[in-house]
Amino acid sequence: MNIIVPIKQVPDLVEELEIDSSGKDLDREWLKFKVNEYDDHALEEALLLKEEFGGTVTAIALDGNDIDKALYAAAAKGADKVVKVTGLDAHVSNHQAARALANVIQGMGADLVFTGVQSVEDRDGQLGVLLAHYLNMPHISVVTGVTVAGSNVVVKKEYSGGIYAEFEAATPIVLGIQAARETPRYVPVAKVRRAMSSTEMEEVSAGDVSVSAGSSVSRMFKPVSGGKAEMLSGSAEDVAGKLVEIIKSKS
C-alpha cells in the first residue's frame, strides 16, 4: 500500500493565545507550533500498516509554521518520503489547502490517504473530507483502526459511548484518523537531527488553488461565559480544605 499522510502544525494550546490588531486572527508572532496530535496517530497507523503489509509512507505538508521540523520528525519515525508543498500563504482557508494538497497528491498513486481527524482551527471544514471530495475519493472520518484485506481495507469508525462501526472499503480512500491502534511512537531529537541531514525533502508547487471557502472571519474573541467559576484562593493546603468541604456538601 502506498500511504500518504498530510501533516499540519497547530498552535500549542498550552501557550496563552492573543488576538492580533485586526481582531480577526491569533497574534501569530510569538505562537509556538506543534504537530496536530491526530497527525501523530495518522502517521503511526500508516507505519503500522507498512510494517505489517509492506508499502511506502509519504508525509506531506504545506509550507509554513515551522513545518520542516515536523516533516523531518516523520522521516525519523519511518516515513520513506517527505514532501513540502510551496507557494501558498500559511493562512489559506482549508478549502484552498485541500485544493493544493489534492493537486499534488493526484499524481502520487495513493492507495490510502491518512489525515488527522481534525485540528483546532478548521473553521471551514476538516481538510481530509474536503481533500477526498477534490480527489473524488470516498472518505471515512473518526477512524480508530485500519487493516488490509486484499485490495480492500477494513476500517473502524468510532461513535459515542464506545460504539464503533466496521466498514470494508475499496482503495483509494481518504481516512480521518482519530487514534492509531498503538500509542504513537516517540522519536528522540538526535534521531530527528540525523534525519535532517540524511533525508531529501521534495518541494512541489501548490498549483492552481482558485477555490474559495465562501466565508471569512469577521471577529475573533475569547469566550465569555455567564457562570465563570468561583476561584478559590490561599495555599494549596487551604484550597484543598475548601474543596473537600465543597465536595462533602454537594455529594
Partner: protein, 313 residues
C-alpha cells in the same frame, strides 16, 4: 423552498440522536426569520417512524437498504442530491462522528460555504468554537446560503420535539457501485466500573503527565468513594480503559460532583459532563476553558492540591 432550513437527522441503533432535536429547534427559529420552514432530512431503511416526534414543517424521507446504517459515501451522495434539488437557505449538520463525514463533502458537492463547530447561529452570522474552546470566531458568509456543523449540546432539545410533521417520501439517488460497505456495529464491552452510575467522579486529564502519576488521583478517588474517569488522551495512551472516558466519543455523565483534574475543557470533553450538578476544576492554566463551565476552580498545581485533599479525607 429557498427559505427553508434543512436539518440532517441523525440516528444510531434505531434511536434518534439528541443533536437532531437540538438543531430542529434552532432551525425553526432561523426559518421563521427567513420566511421558510424547518425541514428534517431523514435517511434509513424502514425508519420513517423515527420522524414521529420531529418539530419540523416537513420531513423528507429517503428509504433504501443502502441507507439502513450510516455509510459516509451513501449518505453524502443522497444528501448532496437533496440539497442540490431543493436549494435550502441553510443546512444544519451535527458536528458528530456521522456529521463530520457529511458536512465538508456537502460544501464541495453543493458549492456552499461551511462553517464548522457552530455554537451559535443567526441569519448570516455563525459563531464557531475553535482552539479547544479557547477562542470563538464569528464568520460572515458570502451569498446567503450556507452549511453549518453544529456542536452537540449547543441548543436545547425541547424546541425540536413535537408531533405531526408531514413526511414526504423522496426516492434515493443511484447508490449502486458504492466503494464503502457497512459491515457491522460493535457494542462496547462492559467495564469494571460504571462511571455513569457514580454520584461523584474524580476525572483525570493529560495534566497528570504519566501513567505512574495516576496513583495520586486513584488514591484520592478511593478515599472519597468515587469512581475514576478521564479525558480522551488518557484512554488513547492506554492508561485507563475506554469505559472510563467522558465526552463526545466516550460516555455522558451527570454526577452530583465532577472533579476535573488536569483537564483543559475542550468542547469534546465538555459535551460529556457539562450537566453535572457541581463541577470543580483543578488546572494551572487560568485561561483553561474548563473554568467557564466549573462552579469552583483553582489554579493550584494538581500535584499539590490532590495529595492535600487525600490527606484531609
Amino acid at each position: 423552498m429557498a427559505n427553508n432550513i434543512f436539518v440532517i437527522a441523525e440516528h444510531l441503533n434505531g434511536k434518534v440522536e439528541d443533536i437532531t432535536y437540538e438543531m430542529l429547534g434552532k432551525a425553526k427559529e432561523l426559518a421563521a426569520s427567513a420566511g421558510g420552514e424547518a425541514v428534517a432530512v431523514l435517511l434509513g431503511s424502514g425508519a420513517k417512524g423515527l420522524a414521529g416526534d420531529f418539530a419540523a414543517g416537513k420531513v423528507l424521507y429517503v428509504d433504501s437498504p443502502q441507507l439502513a446504517e450510516f455509510n459516509p459515501e451513501a449518505y453524502c451522495k443522497t444528501i448532496a442530491s437533496l440539497v442540490n434539488s431543493h436549494a435550502p437557505k441553510a443546512v444544519l449538520v451535527g458536528n458528530t462522528s456521522q456529521g463530520m463525514d457529511i458536512a465538508a463533502g456537502l460544501s464541495i458537492d453543493c458549492g456552499l460555504p461551511l462553517i464548522a463547530y457552530a455554537s451559535d447561529l443567526s441569519a448570516g452570522n455563525v459563531t464557531s468554537q475553535l482552539y479547544g474552546g479557547k477562542m470563538n470566531v464569528e464568520s460572515a458568509v458570502e451569498g446567503d446560503r450556507f452549511i453549518a456543523s453544529v456542536l452537540a449540546g449547543a441548543f436545547p432539545t425541547d424546541a425540536g420535539k413535537g408531533s405531526g410533521a408531514a413526511v414526504e417520501d423522496v426516492p434515493a439517488p443511484d447508490l449502486s457501485g458504492l466503494k464503502i460497505k457497512f459491515k457491522q456495529l460493535h457494542e462496547p464491552e462492559g467495564g469494571d466500573v460504571d462511571i455513569t452510575a457514580s454520584d461523584v467522579l474524580v476525572s483525570v486529564g493529560r495534566g497528570i503527565q504519566n501513567e505512574e502519576n495516576l496513583e495520586i488521583v486513584q488514591e484520592f478517588a478511593d478515599k472519597l468513594g468515587a469512581a475514576l474517569s478521564c479525558s480522551r488522551p488518557i484512554v488513547d495512551n492506554k492508561w485507563l480503559p475506554k469505559t472510563r472516558q467522558v465526552g463526545k466519543s466516550g460516555l455522558k455523565v451527570k454526577p452530583k460532583v465532577y472533579i476535573a483534574i488536569g483537564i483543559s475543557g475542550a468542547p469534546e470533553h465538555i459535551e460529556g459532563m457539562k450537566d453535572a450538578e457541581c463541577i470543580i476544576a483543578i488546572n494551572t492554566d487560568a485561561n483553561a476553558p474548563i473554568f467557564d463551565f466549573a462552579h469552583y476552580g483553582t489554579t493550584e498545581d494538581l500535584f499539590d492540591v490532590v495529595p492535600a485533599m487525600t490527606g484531609k479525607l
